[in-house]
């Protein structure tokens, strides 16, 4: 496992696939009629300040800008990874594992919080799960960005 993590190309491929998957979903669902019909809070008469605003944001298809931003950051990270002339050493690998552990812990916390939110109000599960994906995606991309900046080889 550590041997794989030492190769910058492995990190670049994994992050690219991760961002490509979510990016594709966000771009396809942006402005999609069926996606809009799945949203709850933008159609209900009751107003929940945060969820209504988030739902309207999704209904307007603005989440595509989140996708473009995270794809741009991913491209920057992948570019920096592929520009490396040498593989990571054990110190860099230890730092990468720390970054991934932080991303994993934040994701686990987000799972628990979102599970509680869904249990307390099962409506608007698409909005809630989309927000969870945004948090998860951002956490992973930013942790990798921090890693490539901290461990740049001079």
């Amino acid at each position: 496992m550590k041997g794989l993590l030492k190769n910058p190309a492995v990190n670049a491929v994994c992050l690219s696939l991760f961002s490509a998957f979510y990016g594709l979903i966000f771009i396809i669902t942006s402005g999609h009629i069926e996606f809009k019909s799945l949203l709850y809070y933008s159609r209900t008469a009751r107003i929940y300040p945060f969820w209504t605003a988030w739902s309207s944001f999704l209904a307007s298809g603005h989440h595509v800008y989140i996708a473009f931003t995270l794809i741009a950051i991913t491209m920057l990270v992948v570019f920096m990874l592929l520009m490396r002339r040498r593989p990571y050493d054990e110190y860099h690998t230890a730092n990468l594992i720390q970054c991934l552990v932080v991303a994993a812990i934040l994701t686990l916390i987000a799972i628990a919080v979102f599970y509680l939110m869904i249990l307390s109000d099962p409506n608007g599960i698409v909005e809630k799960f989309t927000l969870f994906i945004v948090i998860n995606w951002t956490t992973v991309v930013l942790s990798d960005l921090v890693f490539v900046f901290v461990c740049r080889w001079r």
Partner: protein, 68 residues
């Protein structure tokens, strides 16, 4: 973990980058080891001790309170 890497390196007149190249790691790794921020693997500790021609115990100060 406290160690004598900096002392032995400076004795040989090497920079962190040069020492890193000799043992196959980055300057950042040598810096992190010297400042005690990173404990090297047993193989890197072995490579460093071989390079300096000393035992691992001479290079790294094994204290019971540092045991994780």
């Amino acid at each position: 973990m406290q160690n004598n890497v900096r002392r032995f390196r400076e004795k040989l007149g090497l920079t962190q980058k040069e020492l890193g190249e000799r043992v196959g790691v980055s300057r950042q790794a040598i810096n992190a080891i010297e400042t005690g921020k990173y404990d090297p693997s047993i193989w890197l500790a072995y490579d460093l001790s071989q390079f300096f021609g000393v035992s691992i115990e001479e290079l790294f100060l094994f204290k019971e309170e540092d045991r994780k």
